[in-house]
Amino acid sequence: MEGDFTVKVVSHPRYVDMAKCIACGACSEKCPKKVPSEYNERLDKRKAIYVRYAQAVPLKYGIDKDNCIFFAKGKCKACEKHCPTGAVNYEDQEVRRDIKVGSIIASAGFKPFDPSIYLQYSYSKFANVVTALEFERILAASGPWMGHMVRPSDEKEPKKIAWLQCVGSREVNACDHPYCSAVCCMYAIKEAALAKEHAHDGLDAAIFYMDMRTFGKDFEKYYEKAKGKGVRFVRSRIHTITEVADKSLQIEYVTENGVAMTEEFDMVVLSHGLEIAKETVELAQRLGIDLMPSNFVKSGSFTPVASSRPGVYVCGALAGPKDIPLSVVEASAAACAAAGKLSGARGTLVSEPEIPKALDVKGDAPRVGVFVCSCGINIAGVVDVKAVVEYAKTLPNVAYVENNLFTCSQDTQDKMAQVIKDQGLNRIVVAACTPRTHEPLFQETLQSAGLNKYLFDMANIRNQDSWVHTGEPEQATEKAKDLVRMAVAKASLLQPLNEVQLSVMPAAMVIGGGISGMNAALELARQGFTTHLVERDAELGGNARLLRITAKGEEVAPYLKELTERVKSESNIVLHLSTAIKNVDGFVGNFKTTLAGPGGEEVVEHGAAVIAIGAAERRPTEYLYGEDSRVKTHLELDSGLMSGAIDPKKTNSVVFVQCVGSREPERPYCSKVCCTHSVESALHFKEHNPDCQVTVLYRDMRTFGERELLYKEARSKGVLFVRYGVDHKPRVAKAGDGLTVTVRDHILDRDLLIDADLVVLASAIVSHKDESLAQMFKVPLDEDGWFLEAHQKLRPVDFATDGVFMAGLAHYPKPIEEAVAQAQAAVSRAVTVLSRKEMWLPGTVAFIDQKKCVGCGVCWTVCPYQAIAADDKGLAVVNEALCKGCGTCVASCRSGAPNLRGFTTQDVMAQIEAML
């Protein structure tokens, strides 16, 4: 039950001891059995002992028992023989465990649709018909042809490639997938654009599609850019592919004005959709959660990451087709929802390591200890490590050198700590693998030996030497010596660095009292944090006050009422209505924000902030809007329907016009929600008045994901969908008592005249472009005025500035379920700050030598984190809490006043000096 689940987990044996495996790859190299590689979509081979892909975490090998010769015939054991650490264990057993948890998150993902069932596309028969995922691997540097774009039949570079959209999506006959997979339009454009970049002498790339669904943030711009690069977009669904003599492919299609065409392509890429695997359906049954008819997990628009079973949450493509940014948002949202009721238990299983006080080595002559790792045979098999050891002993400041079979092993770490103490070492160099994975481990050892952890450097003699110069052992050895010399030169100059400790104010501020802001505030309150909810209006609710229903048919008004009441009665929420933000001081963990409300000004302290200021519906200037009261926007339609002012029963003809102000040169983005809103409204008219003539004039219908089912239903109920070209926009005119809408039919190439009682404009959603708020919180806006996230794919609710997060329409137009998910995600991210009593800032930050500073201001202009400001003398000072240690200020200064701890100019110069 919720709060107290016992989960029975089976860990399958991997036949490799994870603690011993160092991922050297010797086993895989010697394994005689080749198996088609799943990672490269079976386009090349892997071995029976393998890692699935180079970036796998943890990077540990495993045996594929079904394909291993030893498990089939009882002999071979090549991997065991060649493993330098004795990690192979054929006796490994399956482990069954009971795990007690309070919440469960299901994120089992999707399976790419297998297009073999489409006989007319002959995917399994024609070598040069590939899926989009296969094409993705063909383009990848770690793919079957090392990133060389070739076609499978003859490994020659294709000159002409066609992408066919909606393979296994928006398709009922072949596969019963009526939904849109939501991601394929974008990935096809991406593949076409990348393919053009890969081509050596030009590539003709054509995408055959029904509706181009580029509805996400910056997607429409990407689409336009691809057109500019010469990617052809052909609106036609292809029915058959035929193979010609040289295994090229011929396809037939019909142009928009009805002309039949035949064209030959070297390759055809099938943009296959997303589906839920059979095993995942079974898993959902075991979890006891409800699925939609399409097998995606059922959830509500107001609780987007909650499944039908309390305590079981869901995120990612398992809960409906979606792309990476939304999956990441939902992942954080699910973490928030799952942690909400468990917040009392937060931190109860944590134990703090004891760190001895660091010795003061300032002023002591450097005594560098060098530890040269053999990494089994990974380094020692190529590099003569003994020679490197002998060489290191000759370097200045080096007091001690030793060679280890595995420097990273626990026993070596213990020994290293002892050696540091016994030999009185005060700088450490490890010549081994990469600091990106191993620096934290060695730094811990330094700390345990009483050394400041910044007195450390690594020479990367494995990943960037022995592994990449396998055939040149002598030169690799020389290079290893060079790298050790460079590291020793830098290490000799390193100084102990302080990590600044900051206390964290365990309170939050949410700006904006719409659905996103209220959800964020409630979740923060539920997790135990005092939350200031700031709304500039006199009442809560935002745009949702004017919305009728969600795409899933839930009524918005009752939900909003309940949500508002919960916010008002929540004791952890401090409500600031009719209030504006005047000023923001401070930084992550310690913001001081000045609010101006009806009772005057007030300063509020908080550790994190969520910006959820929403957006607005644009007031149209076209289509007689404002001149004739029968021309309405979407929000006006919803209000009219809710109040009864608009009665479908008394409406004989309604025309919806899409893209009013969106996808235009001055607003080059898609407002994302309007197609669905028009369709659900069209259905409402048809439901209450089947005789009402409902017409939707559109450019591309963008009913993404499961919204496609609404579009399908609308067509079956007789809603007319007429496409217009951007060169032939519809015209609305008064005609007698009514309105006449004129639209050019693209097949007939003649005007259609539609009489209408009501014209509904899908007016764009526009940002508030709140530059002053953005400046106060030191966060950026994009050119359309949307708040700009730290990373569009991987950090979709974060800002580059720590402690500030975003949710809802302030980020980009989106439906309610995405706004709620983003609010929960922002809370999840904010809690990573708020749940800490104190924070340690890294020591590798910039500092200013004010004796050299002339106050020219270049550094604070170039600083991407706004971490530098002028002090009262007009000279630069670094705010260490905001500095990320990028060093841009150092490179920009003409007088050499800034420097970067850990990467000082002197450090880098010493490495350059020592290089040759």
Partner: protein, 69 residues
């Protein structure tokens, strides 16, 4: 071997810790092979890249400088 063919340029590479340096590590994991006459200096961001470093590298005798990030 002609003198020209024997010429092996010595290259100093300044790689951003977060992308190109990681890519160089991944090249190792993937066992991609390249000539050994390139030496990498890890920098925290290409924003740290000062023109002085490039000049100093050339002054010390490298034949090429590669900045990547």
């Amino acid at each position: 071997m002609s003198e020209q063919a024997a010429f092996q340029p010595r290259i100093a590479a300044f790689l951003c810790n977060w992308c190109s340096y990681g890519a160089a590590d991944l090249a190792g994991v993937s066992r991609l092979q390249y000539p050994p006459n390139i030496h990498v200096i890890r920098i925290p961001c290409t924003g740290r890249m000062s023109p002085k470093f490039i000049l100093q590298a050339f002054r010390k005798g490298v034949d090429g400088v590669w900045v990547s990030g």
